[in-house]
Symmetry: D2
Amino acid sequence: MNVVTIVGSLRKESYNKQLADTMKERYEGKLTIEILDIRSLPFYDQDEENNPPQSVMDFKEAVTNADGVIIITPEYNWSIPGVLKNALDWASRVDKVFIGKPVMTLGTTLGALGTIRAQMHLREILASPGIQARQLPPGGNEVLISFANQKFDEQSGQLADEETLKFLDSKIEAYIQFAKSE
Amino acid sequence: MNVVTIVGSLRKESYNKQLADTMKERYEGKLTIEILDIRSLPFYDQDEENNPPQSVMDFKEAVTNADGVIIITPEYNWSIPGVLKNALDWASRVDKVFIGKPVMTLGTTLGALGTIRAQMHLREILASPGIQARQLPPGGNEVLISFANQKFDEQSGQLADEETLKFLDSKIEAYIQFAKSE
Amino acid sequence: MNVVTIVGSLRKESYNKQLADTMKERYEGKLTIEILDIRSLPFYDQDEENNPPQSVMDFKEAVTNADGVIIITPEYNWSIPGVLKNALDWASRVDKVFIGKPVMTLGTTLGALGTIRAQMHLREILASPGIQARQLPPGGNEVLISFANQKFDEQSGQLADEETLKFLDSKIEAYIQFAKSE
Amino acid sequence: MNVVTIVGSLRKESYNKQLADTMKERYEGKLTIEILDIRSLPFYDQDEENNPPQSVMDFKEAVTNADGVIIITPEYNWSIPGVLKNALDWASRVDKVFIGKPVMTLGTTLGALGTIRAQMHLREILASPGIQARQLPPGGNEVLISFANQKFDEQSGQLADEETLKFLDSKIEAYIQFAKSE
């Protein structure tokens, strides 16, 4: 199963990036994960949507060709980062590349609430008519990794907390089953 | 009263831009409205927040110096545009320039729901610890301009619907009173 | 297909009740609609959930036996009515009777926004671990009937607006297809 | 300062009730807290709102006479309990007894997220035109008590976790200052 991953944080040492890297390695046998570049996209402008720059075309093509999309997001100001929303704004127009695509959302944060508010906004966005992703149902499947600094290994830059990794394993399995179920 | 305005849409003929232009002219005696450029901001990156580019410093300084902020937003995929969220992400860090600032939100759309979902997300964002704007209470004060193509004049590019203009007048008045009340 | 319907309004002349009645009659050949009594339920009390009163057992049994559930809700204070939430609270415990059940939500209101906020809350509730309904995806499928007093016939107490009825027909069809698809 | 408190849980040993009891005792010198009965209210019915039963009149009168309202809520199915929403539905009609009333919301739960979703719904409800409470701004002021079973003392039925109590002290102080500020 070929999956593309979008990470909402741009900073180099981002825990959410580290989560993407951890997953890429850990689930190698099951999922081929490609992390997409969303930083090089310009801001969405409707005047350009029918003739977008190459970066937008590349992004949309990568989503189109993938069997699924995994979105890993930090929480900024009780919502998702602008850079992530901007990528989704491009994806929602003209050829709506997310329609019917199996999508899983995850997030990690230093705080106690594990990006819940960001993911709540994200799920509404993913359900909208221009996106219409086929979302892994959240009830029982939420991946909200709190207190990131206690769960990632500073040396390796990998998610290292055993309990969290086991939980993640089970949710990735749930996502794979879900993606294959249609 | 000196107010800065942020418009969430980038396209040239945007109804939300036209709403900003209409307000700038119509309320000239009461409000000095400066429309801020948010397109030239880069994507927020935590690694750069302590030493941001000039565009970010200019944006934050303009908000700091203003007596209030008016945010005019379209609705993209049941939320606010990435470009608007990105501006708020910069504003929420280091010197948190929105804290205590009187803020009003408005939006217009071709659809029936008048950007309600975008504004609901926006209000949560504006209440978060990094923003903490002093928001005009939404109960009874929402400005949700639906069916924009019937209410704006194609020639002049101005909001022209009389009933909507009267409603807008009363809400701008409510905002000015609110801003002055503390 | 046997469907149970829950109506969130208790007043006699409720437009939402009239919508339920209209649907019961109009879709007679396709759907057998039974309108459930939720007024006779007591307030949910965890101390009683393992030994609930007969009204609760009857309500849960009706949901269990149905092929699907249609929820028709007014909007009270930007959310769903207490009486509707209470019924869902009972349903979410012990034997969780909504799990996997195909659910459609609709609503009508005198106002312009067609119960959107109530339905947004409702959809989050329906996705929670204790409910886990299989919801008709909202993107493109929302039934938000605004300005009810212009669309219902005062004499017959039926939804009478032709455009709205056609729209409703297509969404009921979408729901039936969705319910049968698994 | 005379405050009325509404507790969203009905079970006898409810942690949220225990939180109310803890606060009543702990803040005795600063706040006189009266816990209101909301279980005896019937379900809201618009047909009865102009001539409501005595229990509704008593409830509304208590809110009217109070200097502020503290709402303590569990989270049921990612929202507030039906019994709490029902009380607010009555309060929102005819004489709208919450308008301008200083309100603080709190909640405790066995889970990790501390009733955040319930409180997010609750804050939207409290901002609606029929309620228009004057809410303590949530940014920096949220009281989300997670893992309740580790923080309450089983013998005394009191909140006993020192760190949580100190945090609570500071938020109660913030609320009192806020309530007095207008």
